[in-house]
């Protein structure tokens, strides 16, 4: 017969097996990020050689044709989105990411008094890393006119399509992760068949280290909470005491919550060029109108 004792051991086994798997998945992701970080060895600008990271100022290959007018972006993150109107009485548009792409054009990287050529990269080899706040700002509603122009399409079945482009322009300080190789034209930075080229507006090594730390901390915290629930459920008198019953209930709730916590950690540590953008535009009542947009009465 299946007594409560037998079933308790079985249920705890199920609970622990899944908690350990969630923790292991987080640790495996942390390992991947740390491996990526280890590959990004700092490149010595005096003797650039091999795959690694260099920080400098990104410059156009040729001088600007029209002084004072910004040239084409040297790198770009492109997020293709579709917007659909939100449920409820308030007018709003909810954005859904369809695809993420990065482009890197040929440019130069100025490091101190040295300059290195940067090769253009195909979409498959290019990664543009921008901080979340910059990307969110680029995707935000520009005002009442932008909302009103988009909302009718968002009401239709197809939705309102748009591409959010966040450029990196000449003069920006970047961290470039690339392969440094000597060619006839000098030292060239580019992708290899096995490794991509990353243009980042923040230190990618520090970013990867921080995200790996979050994941490494998540694993023991998840397991400690599981241990806490287990200990509470096993507090004598087991099965009959109020504390034990609360522990049983807490274990069930823990099981339901640790799984989304695991996927949340995955999303929080997604690489910046594929990180979900999504977003919401609220209708005019909530959008602060700029002075020239306020209709004259």
């Amino acid at each position: 017969m299946l007594t409560h004792e037998v079933m308790g051991v079985f249920a705890l086994g199920v609970l622990w097996l899944n908690a350990v798997l969630v923790a292991l998945a987080a640790l495996a992701r942390a390992r991947d990020l740390l491996v990526m970080r280890a590959v990004m060895k700092p490149i010595d600008p005096a003797r650039p050689d091999g795959y690694g990271v260099l920080s400098g100022r990104l410059e156009a290959l040729a001088p600007q044709v029209t002084p004072g007018v910004a040239g084409a972006p040297l790198a770009e993150l492109l997020v293709e989105q579709v917007g659909r109107y939100a449920a409820g009485s308030k007018r709003a548009i909810l954005w859904h990411d369809r695809s993420h792409a990065s482009t890197i054009r040929a440019s130069k990287l100025a490091v101190g008094d040295q300059t290195f050529e940067v090769d253009a990269a195909s979409e498959l080899q290019a990664r543009v890393w921008l901080d979340a706040a910059t990307v969110a700002a680029a995707a935000a509603c520009e005002g009442r006119a932008a909302f009103e122009a988009t909302f009718p399409a968002a009401r239709k079945a197809k939705g309102a399509a748009r591409t959010v482009c966040i450029p990196i322009v000449a003069g920006t300080t970047v961290w470039l992760v690339a392969d440094a190789r000597r060619e006839d034209r000098g030292i060239v930075l580019g992708a290899t068949t096995a490794a991509p080229i990353v243009v980042s507006t923040f230190d990618p090594r520090a970013w990867l280290g921080r995200r790996a730390t979050w994941l490494i901390l998540f694993a023991p915290i998840a397991l400690a909470l599981c241990a806490g629930c287990t200990a509470t459920a096993l507090r004598p008198p087991v099965f009959d005491g109020t504390v034990s019953k609360l522990g049983g209930l807490a274990s069930f709730i823990y099981f339901l919550l640790v799984l989304p916590a695991g996927t949340r950690m995955r999303d929080l540590t997604a690489l910046p060029h594929t990180r979900g953008l999504r977003g919401r535009w609220d209708g005019p009542a909530a959008v602060a109108a700029t002075p020239n947009e306020i209709p004259k009465s």
């Binding site: 017969m1 007594t3 409560h4 079985f10 998945a25 449920a87 939705g159 695991g262």
Partner: protein, 314 residues
Amino acid sequence: MKHRAEWRQIGIVAAYWAVLGAMLFAPSFRHPVLFVLACGLSFLNAVVIHNHMHQGIFRSRAFNHAWRRVLSFGALYPASVNVPAHNLVHHHFDDDGQPDWAAPDQVGFKWHLLNLIHFPNVAGPNTFDGAQRWAAIGGREEFKRQYTWDNLFAFGVTGALIVHDLWSTLFFVVLPQLYGARCILRINLIQHDGCDTTSEWNHSRNFVGRAFNWIMCNNGFHTIHHNRAGLHWSVLAEAHDREVKPRIDPSLDEPSMVAYLARVFLLTPARPAAKDVAQAESGAVVSDTPALPARDVRWVEAERAADLAPTRAA
């Protein structure tokens, strides 16, 4: 009822409720065999959810909604979630440009058995997160209502049972409920891992054993179900022989799911290497079957079958 064959599904659910009730209220029925049976029936309850959310089994809309509640309790998840998660996103392997919420590559342990165990831990939260975002869009209020009622019934009844007897409910009701809910998610890994989801006929693995499909209400015939979601489950075997067999890589027609699980997850530690299964359909000569409509057209048909407002132009 629309089809006589639905009695099989009603029988499965009635048997499931009977076993759960017996174990919960009569301790003398708490036998390992009955517990295993409850877990198996819970999985079949989730299969019935799948079939019912494609085609309601009753002619009456009210009966169909009530049946959703009954099924939701059996699986401890809202049956309505199948509409966005399965009918719309999974059937097209695409969330409007983003991956299917239950795509096999969401798990990546080197030891493939761990992927099988862990898969619901990822696909489950993906599904509920995706469904919440899907429901937040205008025009889906009826879905939200159904989803809320399903949840209230499933968790309400389970909660009431917990108040009545915490431990017996957790052990003899919640464990089988979770087993079924998690196994139906695992089916996504089992039926699509190593397949080519960009192809028209080699995106799914089929399990074609006759006894297995009798119990599983023909859910082993997965390719034809994906391609012609409007077909009733009772006619899938013939449609599979007629339309799928000439176009599918033979390795995707497995005679036995048990043998497949043992071979792939127990006897081989590593995940099987990918193979170009889609080649099989390029050379297939099939003249007497209707052409497959474009994916967008199938999307619209699926929405119509589920009584949804269109989200995509055909």
